[in-house]
């Protein structure tokens, strides 16, 4: 496909630009809104998972077991099933089951356990000696969390944020199933169902670009905060 043919194709599909921009906006809205809410809930859940572990700072066997089980269940439900399974809950929260806002609910629910496990893993990377040193210098549990665990795990947590956002870009493509819109939805409807390979290609390229951008920004932040 030469440059000229791309140009002429483009002239025949002027409405498409508008469509793609809208879809891009929807994807960004879905990814970042669900990501933001997901972190707000998932990070504390991850912290609790870590602290309540055996030999953890605030060991609590029962809480750890229950929370771990809930997280595992959340992690094991395929997203496409979660999307339709929680429709009543989505309606309860946003009042509708279609549209971008409705897609944010299952995306968030899907992201929380994912983030929780990643954050738990990041906290696990903090050497236990640091917590011990803090205890030895008379730090209270809350101080250990805010002054030792979280700052030391920050590179890992930022990494978790990056991985989650990238995963959410992928999940958001499925949100078309509930009329959530977004680039994935455009790709399926125009590209796959109408056999328009060019549209499919364009959406894929944009998605690749978004993922690259998120990843390199994440890497940059990690590099900035990581002094290990």
């Amino acid at each position: 496909m030469s440059f000229d043919s791309v140009l002429s194709w483009w002239e025949g599909h002027e409405g498409l630009l508008q469509l793609l921009l809208e879809a891009l906006g929807e994807t960004v809205a879905m990814v970042f809104a669900s990501g933001f809410i997901g972190f707000a809930i998932g990070i504390p859940v991850g912290i609790v998972l870590h602290l309540s572990k055996k030999n953890g700072l605030l060991e609590h066997h029962f809480l750890n077991k229950i929370l771990g089980m809930v997280v595992n269940i959340g992690r094991s439900i395929p997203f496409i099933i979660l999307l339709v399974a929680i429709i009543p809950f989505t309606r309860f929260i946003v009042g509708t089951t279609i549209g971008t806002a409705a897609a944010i609910v299952p995306l968030t629910i899907g992201a929380i356990p994912f983030i929780a496990r990643l954050v738990e893993g990041a906290l696990l990377e903090v050497p236990s000696g640091l917590v011990e040193a803090a205890q030895a210098m008379g730090a209270k549990p809350a101080q250990i969390i805010t002054k030792v665990l979280l700052p030391e795990a920050l590179p890992g947590i930022i990494n978790a944020v990056t991985i989650t956002l990238v995963t959410l870009v992928g999940y958001s493509a499925m949100a078309g199933t509930v009329g959530g819109g977004g680039l994935g939805d455009v790709g399926i409807r125009y590209g796959y169902q109408r056999f328009d390979a060019t549209v499919m290609m364009i959406t894929v390229v944009i998605l690749v670009f978004i993922v690259q951008l998120i990843q390199s920004m994440g890497d940059h932040f990690v590099k900035y905060v990581d002094h290990r």
Partner: protein, 344 residues
């Protein structure tokens, strides 16, 4: 003053009880440097961790300045720990904080004002000689510098006690000496009680006034450093001291070693000098009196607390009769002699 009274620690592993510490009693004077030495797995790490209750003793009490730590509530313990500094083998500095912020951490925990923190941290960095590294991250420091930061951090809350958990074990000998020098300095300047555990004899010898030897979770012996090394009373203490001094027979000598004396072979002997040995120049006396030439192969002699002690591996060149007499002479002078064999 630290008092460790009847401390026991039992770990349960797969349903089996492991006695990490059995009935440990220790009393450490304010302002003294006390060393606990033992081989790995002896329980010395558990012991020091029991002092600030990082490890809670199964029974017994830890009394620091009259307060029994085992009887304190969690909050009281947290506050009391601020008066007990601790440094570790692996430094345990926060990688996310600069040198300044690491030293400032204990002060932040105690909600000290920013101005006071700045003043205190700067004076501590001066004490440990790291003023120019204030804004450096720990990853860019050498091991010795990291331990200096850790010492400054441990001193930030003006502790009365400093616990050193194998603090020099991952440092090279020269750096070890400089850290010990620093510990000695803060001990005398701040009248700080230092309890250190180590497996290195050089550390105990270099800095401690008193030492306790611990083996298999039991206190084997304790007393002034010179006394312990010179007059070990128990077999365990003796074994331990010997293991720190141990001389092995070089491989080529071992290959030429015969169990009995034959023509043109000479005895290879191991001499062990202890505090009981008569303090005379026995080696040169031997040579003169019995007409034997002595070739020292290797030796590990030391002088601590007014006594010489150590091991020596030597060959006695001379007649069989002279060698026997020389051995008898050494035994008379309380030097322990063992004929390891005869070298061709």
């Amino acid at each position: 003053m630290i008092q460790i009274k009847k401390v026991n620690k039992v770990f349960y592993q797969a349903g089996r009880a492991i006695h990490a510490l059995s009935d440990i009693n220790l009393s450490i004077e304010q302002g003294s440097i006390f060393g606990v030495i033992g081989s790995s797995g002896a329980g010395k790490s558990t012991l020091i961790r029991c002092v600030n209750l990082l490890e809670r003793p199964s029974s017994g009490s830890i009394i620091i300045d009259g307060v029994d730590l085992t009887k304190l509530s969690t909050q009281e313990l947290t506050l009391t720990r601020r008066k007990i500094g601790m440094i570790f083998q692996h430094f345990n500095l926060l990688s996310s904080r600069t040198v300044f912020d690491n030293v400032a951490l204990p002060l932040e925990l105690a909600a000290v004002s920013k101005d006071k923190i700045k003043e205190k941290v700067n004076s501590l960095l001066e004490l440990v000689g790291l003023t120019d590294k204030s804004d450096t991250y720990p990853a860019n420091l050498s091991g010795g510098q990291k331990q200096r930061v850790a010492i400054a951090r441990a001193l930030a809350s003006d502790p009365v006690v400093l616990l050193c958990d194998e603090a020099t074990s991952s440092l090279d000998p020269a750096t070890t000496q400089s850290i010990l020098e620093l510990l000695r300095k803060i001990n005398s300047e701040l009248n700080l009680t230092i309890l250190l555990i180590t497996h290195e004899m050089a550390v105990v010898k270099g800095i401690c006034a008193q030492v306790a030897i611990i083996g298999d979770g039991k206190m084997v012996e304790k007393g002034p450093v010179g006394d312990i090394f010179a007059h070990p009373k128990t077999e365990l203490a003796r074994q331990f001291i010997r293991s720190t001094l141990d001389l092995t027979i070089p491989a080529d000598y071992r290959a030429r070693l015969l169990p009995t004396r034959v023509e043109k072979s000479f005895p290879l002997v191991r001499l062990e000098f202890t505090g009981a040995s008569v303090d005379t120049p026995v080696i040169s006396q031997l040579a003169r009196q019995f007409d034997i030439d002595i070739s020292i192969i290797s030796s590990n002699m030391d002088y601590v607390g007014g006594v010489k002690f150590g091991l020596m591996l030597a060959e006695f060149f001379g007649t069989e009769d002279a060698a026997l007499k020389a051995v008898a002479f050494l035994k008379e002078h309380n030097v322990e002699v063992e004929v390891l064999g005869y070298v061709i």
